[in-house]
């Protein structure tokens, strides 16, 4: 199992390096439309994965799209985990009305049809934003809306710690509430928070992919895995053209790698 996790780490690292250094590896800019060449062309020396509907180099778009999804999904995961840590810890540690209100809020967020909520919030945003801003906003929204499930887990962890002997002892010794939280409760919640962070990354990658498939993810011409996966909407478009499956394969590999790495943290937690 350890070996598999190591392989997963190497794979993730390779994908991250390739995408972060896309300028070095990509044969063309992700937005350049090679209109005179055939759009939807097959692999060639010039275009290793062929070209897309608009004659853009697919390999370059995969690299840049990976960068977008790989950079912003962890950022969104960090945001949602921080929110979950704040709300969950406060609710679990304080208990009583605090916990009831916070968990009712979390339940409300969990019961919301988040996809429609995202569509609604996105429709209300200003129109004249750059492609990068649009992608940042998309992931920010994902992060802001995705804290509820993690908060419930963190809350139950904090509740268990609150009732533990060492916290009782510390409280009896006259340790202040803030110090108790920062020095005794939070460090013990670290494995839970880390696990929630790793779990959230593939969830946000897939969420963005879902939005992209609906055409509502990252704005053109910036690619993301979601927009790249839209090419697979219709089976008629990729039958016998297996190179089009590369973004899907990459998504599966990355999400699986994250899950394999996560299994270690779960054990630790």
């Amino acid at each position: 199992m350890k070996r598999i996790r190591q392989i997963a780490c190497v794979v993730l690292l390779a994908v991250a390096v390739m995408s972060l250094a896309a300028e070095l590896f990509a044969p063309a800019n992700y937005a350049t439309q090679f209109r005179d060449e055939l759009p939807n062309a097959g692999p060639s020396k010039l275009h290793w994965l062929g070209t897309d509907d608009l004659g853009r180099d697919r390999f370059s778009r995969v690299l840049y799209g990976t960068r977008v999804s790989l950079l912003l999904a962890p950022t969104a995961a960090l945001l949602s985990t921080l929110l979950a840590a704040f709300i969950g810890t406060l609710a679990g540690y304080r208990g009583g009305a605090w916990e009831k209100v916070a968990m009712a809020g979390a339940d409300l967020f969990l019961s919301l049809p988040w996809l429609f909520l995202l569509l609604m919030v996105r429709a209300m945003l200003p129109l004249n934003v750059s492609a990068f801003t649009s992608v940042a906003v998309t992931f920010l929204l994902l992060g802001l809306l995705g804290w509820a499930a993690s908060a419930r887990v963190v809350c139950s962890g904090a509740r268990a710690i609150r009732n533990s002997d060492f916290v009782l002892l510390a409280r009896a010794s006259g340790v202040s509430r803030v110090r108790l939280l920062m020095r005794h409760v939070m460090p013990n919640l670290k494995p839970v928070l880390l696990a929630q962070f790793w779990i959230s990354i593939p969830i946000f990658i897939l969420s963005e992919a879902n939005l992209g498939i609906l055409g509502l993810g990252v704005a053109e011409p910036l690619p993301s895995w979601g927009s790249l996966l839209r090419e697979l909407e219709s089976f008629a478009n990729f039958s016998n053209e297996y190179w089009r499956l590369v973004p899907l394969v990459l998504l599966v590999i990355t999400v699986t790698s994250f899950q394999l790495i996560l299994s270690r943290d779960e054990v630790t937690a």
């Binding site: 439309q33 996105r122 004249n128 055409g215 509502l216 053109e220 219709s234 478009n237």
Partner: protein, 543 residues
Amino acid sequence: MIRKFGFIRWIAVLALSSSLALAQGGELHFCLKSEPKTFNPVLTSDDSEEVVRYLTGGVLVRVNRQTQQLEPELATSWKVTDAGRTITFKLREGLYFSDGTPFSADDVAFTMKQLMDPKLHSVTGDAFRSGNGDVTTKVLATDRVAITFPAPVAGIDKLFDQVAIMSAKSPKKEMAVLGPFYVADYKAGSYVYLRKNGNFWKRDEQGHKLPLLDAVKLDIQPNRDIELMRFKRGELDLINALDSDYFDKLAAASPNQVRDAGPSLDSEQMWFNQVPTAPIPDYKKAWFRSQNFRQAVSMAINRADLCRIVFAGHAQPAVGPTSPANHFWFNSKLRPYPFDPQDALNQLALAGFKMQDGVLRDSGGHAVEFSIVTNSSSKPRERMATMIQQDLREVGIKVNVVVLDFPSLIERIGEKFNYEAALLGLINTELDPNVQMNVWLSSAENHQWNPNQKSPSTEWEADVDKLMRLQASTADPKKRKAAWDRVQEIVYDQQPFIYLVNKNALSAVSPNLANAQPVVLRPQTYWNIDELYLRNAGDRAGK
């Protein structure tokens, strides 16, 4: 000897004609994209309902989809009088509805009453509402009927192509029909089964009773992939409207099964928001109101590339509100705006714009940047917007492409006017420009760039208003054509809508389907449904 050969020839002809008669018939299969909500022809409002109405409804006159000329059907002749306010039909005699009730002028009067009933909100009836007052139908004899409107109705005779006559006396109400088929079975969410109407009045040139098909099975299938797969398997006989992607895939595998009938009436266009109260900066409103700016944008768009790349060559650069496919109403003097970025820059310079370090700036120094909104459910529109983004970058304009779900888009462009430019399409089912009154009148709701104006905000819009009213108020086709030609010229010059492409009418037809001659007008593949038949009718029955 000569007599012997003559006898053999006679036997051969007899055998051939009898084998042809045996071969005709069959059950035609194709798909409806959605569930029909009604079979009442007066209440028809969507594509699926129109398919059923076309296949089952008997009409007084029919526009021949190939020649685009009006032809007699249930009416043998008709006359428009009273400056376009009255139309008198002479009806065919001795006809019966599918349930056996006889057809007479009373049925036409009954249908008109239903059609104009304000409680029913008939979409078909809306086309006949010409002014305040009631429509009166006078039965002059069992085979003659006169219909009078409160005000002249432009192209009144062609409008009756959409009016399926209902029986006034039949206990089956709208299920009794005069068309080639009747609804024999319907399973919600699954299919509509139409059977041959034994009382259908038409015969072909050889005297065979029409329709030649025995039945039509309409499978309800919203998924285009599944429809294509079933067509490839031979379970369907036609696909009435194909996307260019599917068309090319199918063409690669079986070139004899696809048909490109040329540019259709449908258009794709973009426009700028010119609503004075729109929540966008004033300097942007000034750009959008500038004729030079709109013309420059139009010139900077490579329409040929849009056709070649987005529609795989199955589209033509658009000229204006009427497609070249509309033989009579298209103004043939007009040509698509040429792709000329340099000319576009010259045009922009005339309006005070300057190029500085690759960025276009207006006279106030503002960098020219705007967003184009389009709907998320249309991939071709998204692709077009992305291509326009690259085209306009060449003249220093930054475009942001924004894809919204349809309700949000409609709210922005139709209620809040919180957008800068939009890219959408127009599905045109009618040849007559009178149906576009709700677009071109400055007071109209669908006058998208600046709707619901109390009085025309520009001189050219006032001119268009006058011309549209003129064409609507006269029955003389020449005067109407002259007025509409002028409207097309003004629109070409002003570019309130920047017309991009006219998509081709693409369809797929099984080689087993005889007599299919796809055309650009709806319904493209089965417009001559009564003459279609399946060559291997027995095979499917056997299966």
